[in-house]
Every structure is written in C-alpha cells, then in structure tokens.
C-alpha cells in the first residue's frame, strides 16, 4: 500500500511539473518575442513530452528494447525533417 501511495505521489509531482511548464510557456508568449521564443517553446514541449513518455507511459520501468521502439519514431521523423531541410535551406546557395 505504501508503495502505491508513493507511486501516486510521484504521478502528482509529474503532473505539477507539467502544469508548471505549461504556465511557463504560456507566460513566455506574453514577453516580446525574439529569435529565442520558438526554440524555448519547443524545448519546453520536449520536456513535457519526455515527462509523459518516461513517467505516464512508464518507459522508466521498461526494457531497453521497448525504449528503442519508443525512440525509433522520433529518429525517423528527424531523418525526414533533416534531409528535406537539406533541400530547402540550400536552394538559394550559389553553385
């Protein structure tokens, strides 16, 4: 029973962190924007996603194999984004 209480407490702490991050990113959007706004917003989103994957989706208790499967989708998405950017970012370069 005690183990469970600590588990629920842990979930609540993670939830608090998630809501805190949400408040942070929503609040930051009222500041005057700059080049850093979007990277910061995406960093916060990544942190939130990590918390959800690691605690809510219980990756922390899973085998390495399952963790690899969890990362694979993001890795392949990165391939799609990076190689397509290789086209769009260099279109105007001189030959």
């Amino acid at each position: 029973m005690k183990a469970n209480a600590s588990q629920w407490a842990q979930l609540l702490v993670v939830y608090g962190a998630l809501m805190g991050l949400l408040a942070l990113t929503a609040g930051a959007s009222f500041l005057p924007g700059g080049w850093w706004s979007t990277p910061v917003a995406l960093a916060i989103a990544t942190a939130k996603a990590f918390l959800i994957f690691y605690f809510f989706m219980r990756l922390r208790g899973q085998s390495g194999l399952v963790r690899i499967f969890a990362v694979a989708g993001f890795f392949w998405l990165a391939i799609l984004l990076v190689l397509t950017s290789a086209d769009y970012l260099t279109r105007l370069w001189a030959v």
Binding site: L65, A72, W76, I79, L83, T84, A86, D87, W93
Partner: protein
C-alpha cells in the same frame, strides 16, 4: 539438421481443418491467411498484367492510333498502382512471409492472429475501392500522383484511388507490426538472432520499413485529396505552396517502398541458393547486416528521384552520394550469393533457376540504378524508358523472379504436393528469355531519349518498341503456364513428403502441409542456420 521424419500426415494438415467458406474467411491460422493473400494478389497481378499487355499493344504503333491518350494514361496509372501496391508490396511478405515466418522460427502463429486476419480484410477493402476507381473511369495521374496535376487539373477519379491506396496502406502497417513483434517475441528456444534464416531477417527488415514509411504515404495522399476536395491546400502554388514538398513526402515513402519490394526477394534467394548448393550461405553475418543497412540507408536516398525537379543542387549532391552508399550492401549480397555457389554441390531444381534469373537481372537493374544515381547522367536519363527498364529489371526480373522461386520452393510445404518439374523449368527459362526481350530494348530507347508515359513517339523508335512488345507476349506465356500447372498440382500433384529438397530450416521439420498448430512440441534449436552436412 536431419529431418525428424514425423509420422505420415493423416490428412492434408491445415487444409483439412474445416473446409467451409466460413472456416477460411474467419480463420486466424497464418497459413490460411497466406493463401487468402495468394489468391487476392494473383487476381491483382492478372489485372496489372492485362494493362501491361494493352500498353505494349498500343506501343507497337508510333502514332498512338489504337487508343486515345486518356485511355493510355489510365492504363499506365492502373498498371503502376496495381502492380506496386496491390501485387508486389504484399507479394512475398504477405504470402510467403505469412506462411513461412512462423514455421521458420518455430512459432505456433504470428503474435497477433486476429490483426493478421484484419489486415487481409483491410487489404481487400482497399483493393475493392481501387477496383471501383478503375471501373468508374480510371485515374490518369501516373502512380506518382504528382501535384498540382493530381490535386487540381486531373479530371479522373483521383480521390477514390487515393482512398484505396490509403486503406491498403494500413494493411501493410498491420502486417509489418505483426511480423516485428513475432520475430522479437516468438522465436523458438535456442533460435538466437544469428541463427535466424536470412529470409526471416529480410522479412523483419522489410517490416520495419513498412511500419515507418507507409504512414507518410498515407498522410501525403490525404493532403493531396483534401486539396482536391476543398480546392485549397498546402501544395498549391497560388497560395505559395510548393509542389516539390509533395515529391519529398511521396518519395520518403516510395524509395523505401522499392526496398520493401526487393528485400524479401533477397531473403528468398538466400534460402534457395544455400539449399540448392547444399552449402552454408557465405558470409552469413555480413548478409544479415547488409539487409539491415539497406533497410536503414534506404530511408536516406529519396531525393534521387528529384534531381531535375529544381530541388537544391546541394541536396542533389547529398542524395546522389547516399544512393551510391546504399548500393554497396546490395553489391556485397550479389558477391556472397555467387561465393555460396562456389564449391557447392549444385542441383538445378526450378527454384534455383529462378534464383539464378534473379541474380542476373537484379544485377543489371542495380547497375543501371548506379547510372541513375550519377547526377550528370540522370539529367539525361530521368523520366525516359531507361528508368522504366531499370525498375522493371529489379522489380520484375528481381522481385517477381524471387517470388516465383519462393512459391516453387515452398509449394510442397504449402500444398503438400510436387509441381511438374519439366513444365516448371520450361516456364522459368521462358520468363527469363521473354523478360530480356521485353525490357532490354527499353534501355536503348531511354538512352536515345524516348520519354516515359508517351504512347505517341517518333517513328524511328518503332523497331525497338515492337521487339519489346514481342517480348511481352513471350513473358505472358511464361507467367500463364505456372498459373495452370500450380493449380493442377495443388489437387493432383505427387505427394511431397515433409522435406522434398532436404533443406534445413524448422519449416521442413513439419509434415506437408503442416497441421494447424504447426508443431506438436515447440522445437529447440541447437545449430547455426544452413547447417548442411560437409561435402
């Protein structure tokens, strides 16, 4: 491994476990689902082949006077769509993969038997939608669906066809997911990763591509269809959209998809070459890793379809380099197959004839892929018949040859009967001859500048086109003969016995046809793969 000589089968195994229609349509047995797929894709092959026959008939005349342009355009679209998505992509994975994979790893079934059956129903749904699109007037965009033609200008049933492919895509995803989990979790005790037959490795790598690439095709077709439906969308140049983005998304799926079409064939050929030279495959680990690296690197080269599309010059250079690199593992595989034959004890059964045909034709197709990956040369050859010849050499000469070889190799296991060897050798040779007659002239046509998707062409291209069409007639004979004798042998062939080829591999330790649950006791593996006795 010496065969265990199981007791004579009381009946025809899984085939006699219920003979009602419902027992087939509600089955969860991977072997029966494999047969359901076999019938379905054979039907689609005949449709795609009929379109090819009509196209080759039209191309005997330079004036394009046997059919209208719209008819011809609908024919090559139908041919490409059906052959790729409704025949070749499901061919080896969904038929031979479904049948052999659980047997080869000593499992009772795939990991999710219901999902397996559902995948066939999804496939049939997608197929029926595609057939509906064909029946109500066809589609004239080419299998590549390039925007803005497909999204704005075409007057054909693009939405319906896109829906059919979209639906069939989820069947691919379900199959891939099932095989990945099956290989990870259901291997027999002792069957470590490096004891797996290369066919299993190939199906596993293919499944990874299926799961990670197909969703991108689905969303791309959905975006194209939305643009068509609402008249506004992200590929529309009027709003600042870029048609090249569609091409990036399409080829991010469709280049990996060409490896979906060849990797299973490479797996089959590895089994055939090893079995008929009675020798362990040469460089087994290198073969396994080359399969994985083709699957991985295959995701990095899609831009080689866009060299003249006005994508960035630098992106072109990067994609060209990566295309050369992805070819290295393919070359290694060719060398290893030949090295496996070296100092073997070779018998020329029909499956080996198909495997040798694969070796020759895949090599030619692959080498011409190298021509196309070379930037300066592709500028000239892009969208000519050279490309058509390149991919038919690989997909028909490689993929379909391997599929036919695999069907013949496992036919005794599937049906419990032998096919007539004489007829089978005749048709294997006929296919090889007819194939080269059909597609070799197309390399010349392409170099001379005959563009793809042209049914009206300058008169001096006629001779080569007529030769090509004559070859297609020979090819038709080569494909129709096996259809006849395999059907005949299913009912009347000689009893095969559990292991007619004396092959290693767990699937040959079951009776032919195997019982519904495959194995009485779960086998325990203690030996490396292809463990043939020393010569």
């Amino acid at each position: 491994m010496p065969p265990l000589n199981p007791p004579a089968p009381p009946s025809r195994g899984y085939l006699s476990d219920g003979t009602t229609v419902a027992s087939w349509l509600c089955t969860r047995d991977h072997k029966r689902i494999a047969l359901l797929y076999l019938f379905t894709i054979t039907f689609f092959f005949l449709i795609g082949a009929s379109a090819a026959a009509l196209m080759r008939w039209e191309l005997t005349r330079p004036n394009g006077d046997l059919m209208t342009s719209d008819t011809y355009n609908r024919l090559f679209t139908l041919h490409g769509v059906v052959m790729v998505w409704f025949f070749l992509i499901p061919s080896i994975p969904a038929v031979l993969g479904n049948f052999v994979l659980p047997l080869a790893i000593g499992a009772r079934d795939v990991a999710f038997p219901r999902l397996n059956l559902a995948s066939w129903y999804i496939f049939v749904c997608g197929g029926l939608i595609a057939l509906y699109a064909i029946v109500v007037g066809g589609v004239d965009t080419g299998w590549t669906f390039y925007t803005p033609y497909s999204s704005t200008y075409s007057n054909s049933n693009v939405m319906v066809m896109a829906t059919g492919i979209f639906v069939a895509g989820f069947s691919s995803i379900a199959t891939g997911l099932n095989f990945i989990v099956t290989v990870h979790k259901l291997r027999a005790p002792g069957l470590t990763w490096f004891r797996l037959p290369l066919f299993v490795w190939a199906i596993y790598a293919t499944s990874i591509i299926l799961v990670l690439a197909t969703p991108v095709l689905a969303i791309t077709l959905a975006l194209m269809a939305l643009e068509r439906g609402f008249g506004v969308g992200i590929f529309d140049p009027k709003l600042g959209g870029d048609p090249l983005l569609f091409q990036h998304l399409f080829w991010f799926y469709s280049h990996p998809a060409v490896y979906i079409m060849i990797l299973p064939g490479m797996g089959v050929v590895s089994e055939l070459v090893s079995c008929f030279s009675r020798k362990k495959i040469f460089g087994y680990k290198v073969m396994a890793f080359s399969i994985l690296s083709i699957a991985g690197l295959g995701f990095l080269v899609w831009g080689h379809h866009m060299f003249v599309s006005s994508q960035s010059v630098y992106a072109g250079v990067v994609f060209s380099l990566l295309s050369f690199l992805v070819s290295v593992p393919s070359a290694i595989k060719v060398f290893n197959w030949i090295a496996t034959l070296h100092r073997g004890s070779i018998t020329f059964g029909t499956p080996l004839l198909y495997a040798l045909g694969f070796l020759a034709l895949f090599t030619i197709g692959g080498l011409t892929g190298i021509f196309l990956a070379t930037l300066a040369v592709d500028v000239h050859l892009h969208d000519t018949y050279f490309v058509i010849a390149h991919f038919h050499y690989i997909m028909v000469g490689g993929g379909v040859m391997a599929y036919m070889g695999g069907i013949h190799y496992w036919w005794p296991k599937i049906s419990g009967r032998m096919f007539p060897e004489g007829w089978a050798r005749f048709s294997a040779v006929t296919i090889f001859v007819g194939f080269n007659l059909t597609f070799f002239p197309q390399f010349l046509l392409g170099y001379l500048g005959m563009p793809r998707r042209y049914h009206i062409y300058p008169a001096e291209f006629q001779t080569l086109n007529v030769i090509s069409s004559a070859g297609a007639a020979v090819l038709a004979v080569g494909y129709l003969v096996p259809l006849c004798y395999l059907t005949w042998s299913f009912f009347h062939g000689k009893d095969a016995g559990p292991n007619p080829w004396n092959a290693t591999g767990l699937e040959w330790q079951t009776p032919s046809p195997p019982p519904s649950h495959n194995f009485e006791q779960t086998p325990v593996v203690t030996r490396p793969p292809y463990d043939y006795p020393p010569l």
